[in-house]
């Protein structure tokens, strides 16, 4: 672990890129995606089956009791807060070198690790969120109800603040020219966003967190693909992830959140491609403007295409066409998550190991807490290119299939019976396009 000072950092940290997936992997995956898509359209059920939050089988009572026990939740919260405090100590008092664990804590553990955590355990970020606990503490000290704000949160604002701050984070990760070894930029970002979040919570009450805290918004979204969930009355259930996903509330701004997540990840892949790199380098004095514009364009293209495809379903009936994009946006979540798995898989394993190695010495004083991990070769995963490529392709295709099924079920529920099949076509074609774009980026970038 030499603190080499100028390693080029892909997505915040890490220097290796995966090999492109072999061409025939991409072809097989694309063919599978196409076949399944139209197979679903032709063969699947014609009346909606998913029941959202009402679905699922209650967890065994003894297990539910353990999960909901004060001591279990207290332990998880305690761990989360100690971890956050430890990283904050490294960020504030640690040295500005690459081995400062706060970089990997942010770009690897928080940003990428949040996805598997949410899929396995559900919305854990919400439970451990340091800002939520800070807000709760302040409210308790002042004798105020944390749910109580100065104003009522406007429903039309919905998840838009979350989408905005997610975009701000991807900018920090992908565009910020000082990303390598720039502790000050991480400090400044978290200070600003943290302050803004606390102001939001003060004005609107703690409803702000579920709409405006980017990490909670992201975590709660991905948690909808978990096998575990809760009914509206709080009962813990095991359920089909597709039914879980069906329960995602179609809030305003949901399309915005999904667009930022998908657009930014696609941009990250695209940005690493030698073609873009060579081209952008000619304009290196304007690289921030160029990359900001490209990042925004990727997100915008997803937003516009998705909105248009939703409107093209033409279903009106009870909800009116303006609500349609957010009603269908849940179906892009599996596609996004599948692509995120493909994009970050090897990075997460390699840099996760590096994080464990450095987290025991947050202030660069030679603390030996995680010395036991020093012997692990963080790059082992890169010696298995075939396994990486297969996992990527399976993740993308699985995400696509789940997305298509979710969209189908929602469509047969919302659209008039006569148009239920034909109305789905634009959305289906768009999903195929998204998946082909993802495969193309994995294969040719």
């Amino acid at each position: 672990m030499s603190g080499s000072s100028d390693v080029v950092l892909a997505h915040g940290v890490g220097g290796v890129q995966d090999l492109p997936i072999p061409a025939h992997y991409a072809y097989i995956a694309a063919a599978t995606a196409l076949l399944v898509s139209f197979g679903v359209l032709a063969l699947a059920w014609r009346t909606s089956r998913f029941r959202g939050d009402a679905s699922g089988r209650p967890l065994w009572p003894w297990l539910a009791r353990i999960v909901d026990a004060r001591i279990t939740r207290g332990a998880v919260v305690g761990l989360g807060l100690v971890f956050a405090g430890w990283i904050a100590m490294a960020a504030v008092f640690g040295q500005n070198t690459l081995v400062n664990p706060s970089f990997r804590a942010v770009y690897v553990v928080l940003w990428v690790g949040l996805v598997p955590a949410a899929i396995v355990l559900g919305p854990v970020y919400r439970l451990c969120s340091p800002l939520r606990w800070l807000h709760r503490g302040i409210c308790a000290a002042a004798g105020i109800d944390p749910g109580q704000g100065i104003r009522t949160y406007p429903a039309k604002l919905g998840l838009w603040p979350g989408a905005f701050f997610l975009f701000a984070f991807t900018w920090l990760e992908l565009v910020n020219p000082n990303v390598s070894e720039s502790l000050p930029s991480i400090r400044l970002w978290f200070l600003l966003v943290g302050a803004f979040t606390m102001v939001g919570a003060t004005v609107y009450g703690d409803v702000w967190f579920e709409n405006g805290d980017p990490f909670e918004v992201y975590s709660s979204l991905v948690a909808r693909l978990s096998l575990f969930g809760r009914r509206t009355d709080g009962t813990l259930v095991v359920r089909n992830p597709l039914e879980n996903l069906d329960g995602l509330p179609p809030k305003y701004g949901l399309v915005g959140v999904v667009s930022v997540l998908f657009g930014s990840t696609a941009f990250d892949s695209f940005k690493e491609s030698p073609r873009w790199l060579g081209w952008a380098q000619q304009y290196s004095t304007h690289s921030v403007i160029l990359n900001t514009a490209a990042l925004a364009l990727f997100c915008l293209v997803v937003y516009v295409t998705f909105t248009l495809a939703s409107l093209a379903t033409g279903g009106l009936g009870t909800i009116g066409s303006r609500g349609l994009p957010n009603q269908l946006a849940h179906s892009v979540v599996p596609i996004v998550v599948g692509y995120i798995v493909a994009h970050y898989l090897s990075f997460f394993i390699a840099e996760g190991i590096a994080f464990v190695q450095e987290v025991g010495d947050p202030l660069s004083r030679g603390w030996p807490l995680t010395e036991w991990a020093d012997g692990i070769d963080k790059y082992t995963i890169y010696n298995h290119p075939t396994a990486i490529a297969v996992t990527k392709v399976v993740a993308v295709v699985t995400g696509h299939v789940l997305g298509v099924v979710a969209a189908h079920d929602r469509s047969v529920r919302l659209l008039p019976r006569t148009r239920a099949l034909i109305g789905q076509l634009p959305m289906l074609v768009l999903m195929v396009c998204y998946t082909l774009l993802g495969l193309w980026l994995l294969f040719s970038s």
């Binding site: 080499s4 100028d6 390693v7 080029v8 220097g15 290796v16 890129q17 995966d18 090999l19 072999p22 025939h24 992997y25 097989i28 995956a29 599978t32 399944v36 699947a44 059920w45 089956r49 089909n240 597709l242 039914e243 030698p274 790199l277 060579g278 081209w279 380098q281 000619q282 290196s284 790059y379 890169y382 010696n383 290119p385 075939t386 490529a389 297969v390 392709v393 399976v394 295709v397 699985t398 299939v401 789940l402 099924v405």
Partner: protein, 137 residues
């Protein structure tokens, strides 16, 4: 919910089939061809890959980051001509850093090889420009 169960079974079967098919095909494709040479010591028999770098008046070629394929374990040699002192960094595992002095004329830098599959960039540290991308595997 028999429909859902059937759907889940079908989906996982499809995924498993896809994975099987891919790994099956994998044994005949070039990616795993590289893995064959990993065990051997055949790297010496191959020609080293030579990459010429010319730096003049603050600009450098190549500067487009284009991809150069090299085999696992194949020797790579950078040949540098420059009118300014610079550092050339190879962001491989482990990293290689070479210092070149002003006035170097077709100077051959020490050979190196990469054993980890992946893509690695070679960069001029002085000009902060990505020169080429090495693709190993």
């Amino acid at each position: 919910m028999p429909g859902l169960t059937r759907l889940a079974t079908a989906t996982s079967a499809a995924a498993a089939l896809l994975g099987l098919c891919l790994t099956g095909c994998g044994s005949t494709n070039p990616t795993s061809g590289a893995a064959d040479s990993a065990g051997g010591t055949g790297s010496g028999s191959e020609q080293p890959a030579t990459i010429s770098i010319v730096e003049k008046d603050g600009s450098i070629t190549p500067d487009d980051g284009h991809v150069i394929d090299v085999d696992k374990g194949q020797d790579v040699q950078l040949v540098v001509t420059t009118d300014a002192a610079d550092e050339i960094h190879v962001h491989s595992i482990p990293e290689h850093e070479f210092e070149v002095e002003a006035g170097a004329d077709s100077e051959k830098l020490p050979e190196f090889s990469i054993d980890t599959p992946g893509r690695f960039i070679i960069e001029s540290h002085g000009l902060n420009v990505t020169l080429v991308t090495l693709q190993v595997g």
